[in-house]
């Protein structure tokens, strides 16, 4: 059984919500990846989303853009990330998701990418510029490798389409909480709770909310309407500032 499915089954038994942190691979040097993953695993992350830096991240706001630039300046590439993961995977048991724009994969070679991330123990992929209409370019290969494609639904996705996407989905469904790019937000739109509720009603798989979620209050409020949250920009800031205490608080918000 896929590690991701196992993790959700376990949460279900414990009646707990999921917490998935996002980090940018190579931010601070590729050699820091192992430690960051270890820290987050020990804090009890449900799964960890590892970002692959890309020169033109159109779905991302300033924090992740900057982290990506730092990582690229460090010489980080998809090749190095996969190599590093292959080396460190055995020391970790947490499910690992790779979040990457399509071009680095395309350039690496789609077939080769799937084969090598399977060897490196990656459990799922999030590809923000790959909508349903284009996913055939990679899905058959991912299926064969038992790697889940995490699909996204947003506030602009019509209900019928949400239903269709959620039924195709595997692992969990990523519900984007804002119309906009990633990054810390103070306020969410009124329609958010209704949106999450209707996604939750339709989806046969767990629904995790992400984009703009940054503090304990938001985490608690939003997770009332779904199965957990994904936090990115704030996690990057914590690591950037060496603020492990805040990090721990964030990750353990949903452990009760």
């Amino acid at each position: 059984m896929n590690r991701l499915k196992q993790a959700f089954a376990e949460l279900d038994r414990k009646h707990q919500k999921a917490f998935v942190p996002y980090i940018m691979a190579g931010d601070g040097g590729i050699e820091t990846l192992k430690d960051k993953l270890k820290i987050l695993e020990e804090m009890g992350a449900t799964a960890i989303e590892i970002g692959v830096p890309f020169s033109d991240p159109v779905a991302d706001g300033p924090t992740i853009q900057q982290a990506g630039i730092r990582a690229l300046q460090n010489g980080t590439s998809l090749t190095k990330i996969i190599e590093e993961l292959s080396i460190i995977r055995n020391s970790l048991s947490v499910p690992i998701l790779l979040m990457t724009y399509l071009n680095p994969i395309y350039s690496y070679g789609i077939q080769r990418f799937v084969e090598n991330i399977q060897i490196a123990g990656v459990d799922g992929c999030i590809i923000p510029d790959l909508p349903l209409e284009e996913e055939e370019i990679i899905v058959p290969m991912l299926n064969k490798a038992n790697i889940q494609l995490i699909r996204l639904v947003t506030l602009t996705t019509p209900l019928e389409r949400i239903k269709f996407i959620s039924q195709k989905g595997e692992g969990f469904l990523y519900a984007v909480t804002i119309k906009g790019t990633t990054g810390v937000r103070n306020n969410f739109e009124q329609e958010l709770s209704g949106f999450l509720k209707s996604v939750k009603e339709m989806s046969p798989i767990p629904v995790l909310a992400g984009f703009g979620i940054s503090d304990e209050k938001q985490i608690k409020e939003i997770s009332l309407h779904c199965d957990g949250v994904i936090v990115g920009s704030k996690i990057i800031e914590c690591f950037q500032n060496g603020d492990i205490e805040s990090l721990e608080k964030l990750v353990s918000t949903l452990k009760f």
Partner: protein, 400 residues
Amino acid sequence: MNKYTLPDEKGHFGIFGGRYVPETLMQAVLELEQAYFEAKKDPEFQSEIDRLLKEYVGRETPLYFAGNLTNFAGGAKIYLKREDLNHTGAHKINNAIGQGLLAVRMGKRKIVAETGAGQHGVATATVCALLNLDCIIFMGAEDIKRQALNVFRMELLGAKVVGVTEGSATLKDAVNEALRYWVANVDDTHYLLGSVMGPHPFPMLVRDFQSVIGKETKEQFYEREGSLPDAIVACIGGGSNSMGMFHPFIDNEKVKLYGVEAAGLGIETEYHAASLTKGRPGVLHGALMYLLQNEDGQIQEAHSISAGLDYPGVGPEHSYFKEIGRATYHSITDQEALESFKLLTKLEGIIPALESAHAVAYSIKLASKMKKTESIVVCLSGRGDKDVDTVRNIMGGGKR
């Protein structure tokens, strides 16, 4: 050969094109496609475009036989399709009118656009003034410096111009920011994309709105010569003037199509914008197309003396033409473009945009290898007023 009908229903030209956009934008691009297909069938929409192109833009534009340039090249006859004589000074207005009317039809009263040289920004701001739409334009900070006059023009027309400092601070980065803005404001905003790139249906609809160039050329040339031209030459950044020129000739296989990219300081250096000559297929800004990228799939910065060609990708349909060999793609350096800029000005009394000067430069090389009985039509996509400062700086031994 069967009649050319691409893109397919998913917006693909062979492997190229498609809709590689975040889910937040999917609804908007699907709605746009739907609205465009409906508008296309509506005779009133088409006649409103035709009326504005005639009365407002000043179409049709002349097809001019450039006798002095022909003598200089010493070979085939060179004709210029005078898109520089359009209102706002370039072909960009053809597409801006079409998409502006489409936005109104869709009930979207806010427009976002990117611009490189500022020509598309000016065209968009103009159409927004005409149709009373809100307008925000993203432009690379580097381009804002190079094209200060166009920035002022856009502001006069009522647009808000936002400088983009990320990356190379040129067209690619302006597209990133325009896309991010669109993601955040998709409910009431139309993205008026300026070239034959981006997610489907943009490459198709920009091509269709620009095809007026090729259609007129075909008729005008036939009237004059009683035949079709032997060759068509046009410059390529994203590829809109060239696609507008090429597309009506696709099924006329005897007409050779030549696209001219910017070779910058030379294609053997790192400083060029020759995506088709030196790039390889990849995904950027919503489409699979030829891209300048490093071995890890990171997009590289493009370089050209002309801000309008300074883009590391080229539209998916051009990528497809390259693949099937229907068009061939060549490149012209900054230096060669500059010489043609001066040459055309002196020989014909026409100051071309630096972008168009690339096409002129290639047409001289091409003409000299063709027979005197043969003919070339060059798409003179824009006028050079905007570039006079740049050229003066270079000639005066200025910045470079």
